[in-house]
Subunit: 437 residues, 2 copies
């Protein structure tokens, strides 16, 4: 292989960093064939040099200082695996692109918050000739979904992008489904098994999925990243009883990130929310920590990309795929079109959308409660398709009432819940899930 | 958009050709943004100029002569949508690449038979600077699976590639499953509905899936295309009774194309065959004319790509994605590595493989037949996991005996069937399907 190697610096030596080193070691020869030249790690950096990471770091130069790492004349591309939307990761990204070097990152928070700035720096670098910025690993782990949208589906006007974007939530929900156990119990187990972080808020409250959704929406719709516009609801209020009811209706519950262009491409709808997914839908079969993304194009029809959403191996696979693209010279605008051409779309008003909804109330166990709820529905113009009242008191003398509405505007349901807001019959705030029909 | 347009010539104006024209018309503006320059059809050619195709051809130059089409100085890329492994399609492909122009094709037969020659021409074109050759539409319609393997999974040593590669067969099998009807009946309906050709042999006998498998295997494993080495068996012998038995065991039947590297990458296993797929496997949920491909990488784990396997819209989506890549300058070796570096792997011996098998015999309705079959199994060392004898004579006084073997070498089953070959008890040749476990 006579061609000059692509020389990289690795910043961050956690699970994914170790995975990248193992991957480049194990598959180095075939990667050199496919990339047209070898990809070589030159230098590495991490917070704690002494820590044993189970990989041999002796072949690489160590840099304590991230700024020096990016500035090394023997480095072409920096791989940022530090994490965090700001702080050292962002400083390193800015410095790398500012120096006109390529940046590969798995950092979804940073791209969701600062993707536009970094893409602008990437385009302006090297006197306008550009410097690559790639982040396949930031969304859905090892699944090449950014490539799938940016290139594979590039001929299409996409109408809708949705999917299962957080493996922790999917593990919890599908385990609740398989075992009938409740949320808190399964979360504890997931933490013990390493499927959930010690502080799981980022995952279970939907923020992580929202980061990924905002990135996918930007690429798919040619819009600026609009993370702040994502409506986010996590899975913490889902009970085993909800999953059982969904099951009786032919549905499973999944945390779905959904983005749509509305009103002729002028408004962007983005929502992360637990949804009832019909058992016949491909996403219903996605179990465990798996991720899956559906993109609907005006010519391609429905495309599905599925695979491991996290883990050192899959994430390293995506990082190195980006490096191979750079080695091959296949780069171009990070968000598919130049930043200046990305549409700035206003947030769509979710309440103007239509669909069916699953509503679940925890009510006091006394006569007249059901009449009160159904009257509020009637007064708000919401038509009930099926109603399930659980006769038995569920927990602490509370009774669970669940219903599915007919297709109708979301604002009807919002209005009905407003009518019920002050009701002493409701023991807790109602849960509203949309049906993915 | 100041950049010079990518100027294309379209050869073949059937369903897909019409789809490409409609797509470039409908999505032209967004494609120009994503590609960095407009993609313009300059000239077209087809057999019959007079035929009404439902698209306006007046903006384009008409060429009767394909050689003149490729030679036009205002054409950068030829899109070949004529079809057929040889004849005018191959002549056009050779001429186009010989002139140093880009070629995009949806022609799986041509790539399966002549892909190596054409890739060699593509690399050698323009005094070694190359001319793009791309064929995303040749495999699995609108699903960007060639890109997924060639680029998305490029960091991995792939261990196995398999999937549902023929929409006609999948439509027939899943309709048989849903309705309990028999093969011939469903085939007639599929023909009436346009899901199967008037001459369906190419699809139902597995040849089309074998073309696609050979292309995927070459790209995934870095091997020369070896279509002649694919073991092929179609779906014509599958009966409603087989599907019912598979169902009772928790399986569906799908035509699966499967490729594996064996013996340290020195041998290539490629087989197209109806398989029993466990209902929990993602491929079991793939219904109708949908295609799906699974690639297992040593770091990515299992990746699944799913979508519409045929049709004018999806196929045009893949053709134009290739054109966008060319307009962006993202090309490189058609089979991921240069032709000279592709491994020439010998065919693996399928009989050395292990697994479970479904065997179905049509036997004469008389005593002792079952004993004869089970004795042959015993003598060949094949262990039977479950056995289903249908008491009732199925059709014409014949009785159906089905069984599933324990895990074991395929050659055991081959040997057992040899022992039974001369048996007067067997009314027809036995059916052997493998289990996808």
């Amino acid at each position: 292989m006579a061609a000059a190697p692509l020389r990289i610096a690795l910043a961050g030596l956690g699970t994914v960093g170790g995975g990248v080193i193992r991957l480049l070691t194990a598959n180095g020869a075939l990667i050199a064939r496919r990339a047209g030249r070898p990809i070589e790690i030159v230098a590495v950096s991490a917070r704690d040099r002494a820590r044993d990471r189970g990989v041999d770091l002796s072949p690489y130069q160590w840099e304590d200082d991230l700024a020096l790492l990016a500035g090394r004349p023997d480095v072409d591309v920096v791989v940022e695996l530090i994490g965090g939307s700001d702080g050292p990761a962002l400083a390193l990204a800015r410095r790398t692109l500012g120096l006109g070097k390529g940046l590969v990152t798995a950092n979804k928070a940073m791209i969701a918050h600062h993707g536009m700035e970094l893409a602008g720096m990437s385009e302006a670098a090297n006197d306008g000739r550009g410097a690559p910025l790639k982040f396949e690993a930031a969304v859905a782990g090892g699944i090449p979904v950014i490539k799938g949208l940016r290139e594979g589906a590039a001929a299409n006007a996409l109408t809708r992008i949705y999917g299962i974007l957080n493996g922790t939530c999917n593990y919890i929900l599908s385990t609740m489904e398989d075992t009938g156990r409740d949320f808190g119990d399964v979360l504890k187990e997931a933490q013990a098994l390493g499927y959930a972080e010690a502080d799981p808020a980022f995952d279970i409250e939907g923020t992580d999925a929202a980061h990924k959704l905002a990135i996918l929406a930007a690429i798919g719709f040619g819009a600026g990243v609009a993370f702040d516009q994502v409506e986010v609801e996590g899975i913490t209020r889902i009970r085993a009883a909800d999953i059982a009811r969904a099951d009786a209706l032919g549905y499973v519950i999944r945390l779905i990130g959904m983005a749509e262009c509305e009103e002729g491409g002028t408004r962007l709808f983005q929502r992360v929310q637990p949804c009832l997914v019909p058992r016949s839908h491909p996403l219903a079969a996605v179990d465990g920590a798996t991720n899956a993304v559906v993109a609907e194009g005006n010519f391609s029809g429905r495309l599905l990309f599925q695979g491991a959403g996290a883990g050192d191996g899959p994430t390293a696979s995506a990082v190195v795929a980006d490096l191979i693209d750079i080695a091959r010279g296949d780069t171009g605008p990070p968000f598919s079109v130049p930043v200046a051409e990305l549409e700035q779309m206003a947030a769509a008003d979710g309440a103007t959308r239509r669909g069916r909804a699953y509503l679940r109330f925890i009510v006091a166990d006394r006569p007249g409660v059901l009449a009160e709820i159904t009257a509020a529905m009637r007064d708000a113009g919401v038509s009930i398709e099926s109603l399930i009242q659980q006769g038995q008191a569920d927990e602490g003398g509370e009774v669970l009432v669940a219903m599915v509405t007919h297709d109708g505007p979301e604002r009807g349901v919002v209005h009905a819940l407003e009518l019920l807001r002050e009701s002493p019959s409701l023991a807790r705030p109602p849960l509203v899930l949309r049906l993915l029909d």
